[in-house]
């Protein structure tokens, strides 16, 4: 007997018992759609985080001087000189100072973050101006009181984004706004749009702190990141002689860490959802066992007119697999639907990938085979005479 015949029989049997079949499928539907929703949510947010990290520049290395075990710091000029000496690997260096400050315009004032850096910051951290201009080397050399402000700051102080040319007071000193920073997030408080960027030389004076403890270094290309890291490492060891005095991280390492964490998360959530798929499989086994008992007479008749054990096994097994596969397909569609609903509500991008669709579908088919085997085998082993005697 061909398996097509078994499939036809199975579909007929499922069709004549729609209510029960759909309840049985429900377990698989919930399992498959849960796997798809969970995994696509995690993958969606992973993609988002990765994209944000990549937007910062993957060629970036950051150096933080912790100052532990040494009184020595690095002068900006030392760092710039080092960069010049290694211009084959290093594109540019940005010193970075960050501190809290109060910004004021007329009667409006807000507390925001002041970042002091140099003109290279524009490329090193992918930060450009939306309006106006970025400050230049001359502004830095002359310690100009010029400021780039974020969209949130501009809205709060001026009620508009057209603030280039205006004056603001930062910690009581008057600065001229020369540029509006590109809108990075949605202009909310505490975001990348809630900050003021000024020349680091000006910042050193404003915060009365001459030490620069953070540097952002941009490698020439993604291939030179590793050699640039080595050079920086060597340079810093030469200065501090204690590897605990500083910390070097690069964007690629960070990306690796993120993908490692989200990988674990995917496995965990997918696994939990997978358990519900397993429970659905037990539901199939349960119903198939009931079905075998109910259809004992049918099995007896089929055997009397020439069905072999393998025919009966095939029929019941295909029925179980058909139930789980139909459930799997409905689950996939439902999972897609649910993902897009969640996406539109929570703004977390949920991207169901082809691989997870394939994995969850084949897992549901496997569940059908695994849990269908026992009832089907039981059916095939029935003694035809005893089966015929059952009413």
């Amino acid at each position: 007997m061909k398996w097509v015949e078994s499939l036809r029989m199975a579909l007929k049997s499922i069709g004549s018992n729609k209510g029960r079949a759909s309840l049985t499928m429900l377990g698989i539907i919930i399992g498959v759609s849960a796997v798809i929703v969970m995994v696509s949510l995690v993958q969606g947010s992973t993609n988002q985080v990765t994209a944000e990290l990549e937007a910062m520049g993957t060629n970036m290395i950051s150096v933080t001087v912790l100052g532990r075990g040494s009184n020595r710091t690095i002068e900006v000029n030392e760092m710039l000189e080092f960069a010049m000496d290694n211009s084959d690997k290093i594109e540019s260096v940005s010193p970075f100072i960050s501190s809290k400050a109060t910004a004021k315009s007329g009667s409006n004032n807000i507390s925001t973050t002041i970042q002091g850096t140099n003109e290279a910051f524009k490329t090193v951290r992918n930060t450009d101006v939306h309006q106006g201009r970025f400050f230049n080397a001359l502004d830095i050399e002359r310690r100009q009181k010029v400021a780039l402000i974020g969209s949130y700051v501009s809205q709060e102080l001026f009620g508009t984004l057209n603030s280039v040319g205006q004056e603001i007071k930062i910690n009581g000193e008057i600065f001229q706004v020369i540029g509006l920073i590109e809108i990075k997030s949605n202009s909310s408080q505490g975001s990348e749009d809630d900050r003021i960027i000024i020349p680091y030389t000006t910042a050193q004076r404003l915060t009365r702190n001459a030490n620069v403890n953070t540097y952002f270094i941009q490698a020439k290309t993604s291939e030179t990141v590793d050699s640039a890291m080595t050079a920086v490492e060597k340079f810093l060891v030469g200065i501090f002689s204690d590897t605990n005095s500083y910390r070097i991280t690069n964007q690629a390492d960070l990306l690796d860490q993120v993908s490692e964490i989200t990988g674990t998360l995917t496995m965990m959530l997918g696994g939990i959802a997978g358990i519900s798929l397993l429970v659905g499989g037990i539901g199939i086994m349960n119903i198939m066992l009931v079905s075998v008992t109910e259809r004992t007479k049918e099995i007896g008749i089929r055997k009397a007119i020439g069905a072999k054990r393998s025919n009966i096994l095939q029929q019941f097994l295909i029925e179980a697999v058909a139930v789980s596969c139909i459930g799997g397909i409905i689950g996939i569609l439902f999972g897609f639907l649910l993902s897009s609903v969640i996406e539109s509500i929570t703004q977390i991008p949920a991207i169901p990938s082809m691989s997870i669709v394939l994995i969850s579908f084949s897992f549901s088919a496997f569940v059908g085979v695994f849990f269908g085997w026992y009832p089907a085998n039981k059916a095939s082993k029935l003694n035809p005479i005893q089966a015929l005697r059952v009413e």
Binding site: M1, K2, I301, I305, G306, K308, R309, S310
Partner: protein, 225 residues
Amino acid sequence: MIKIEDMYKIYKMGSTNVYALNGIDICIEPKEFVAIVGQSGSGKSTLMNMIGCLDKPTSGEYYLDGNRVTKMKENELADIRNNKVGFIFQSFNLLSKLSALENVELPLVYKGIGRKERYKMAHKALERVGLGDRVNHKPTELSGGQQQRVAIARALSSRPPMILADEPTGALDSKSGQEIMKMIKELNDEGKTIVLITHEHHIANQAKRIIQLQDGKVVEDSEVV
């Protein structure tokens, strides 16, 4: 040809042994029409299960057309049931969810015959029993006599040389019963071997040979004059 030699079937009922078949020797030639009669518990149903290859004896031998059935494996027995035997049961034993045509097709499905060919053969078998206009009816939509005729069509569809009928008229009124018996006689006239089990004498008398069983033994084996 059916040849049964010294066949025993012993069931254990607690500590006692029940001899359903107690040393049976029977020989049935092709194209015979044999009725097996006996009271309930005489072993006639057990004997039919043996002849129909549904059951295996405790001891003894069974040769069907020279093949030693008692040594066969399950799959070979299934093939014999499929190709050489057509069953007709007292309670029809049709699958209630399938139409008349699908019921008749079933032995052909297990024989591995393709869809179109199967449809033709099953249709022909139903026409043969006078139900050519009822092919798409479910068994529940048919009368008892009609259901038994579907069962006969099913028994005929794979064109077996032998028909085994277990009280085929037992669940029918006398008129439909007579119709069924007429049909069975016709089949015998066409050359099929018929083995019929009954406890009614007027049914048995329509056969050409009567074998009477009692307590698992043949007590009488006579030609009907």
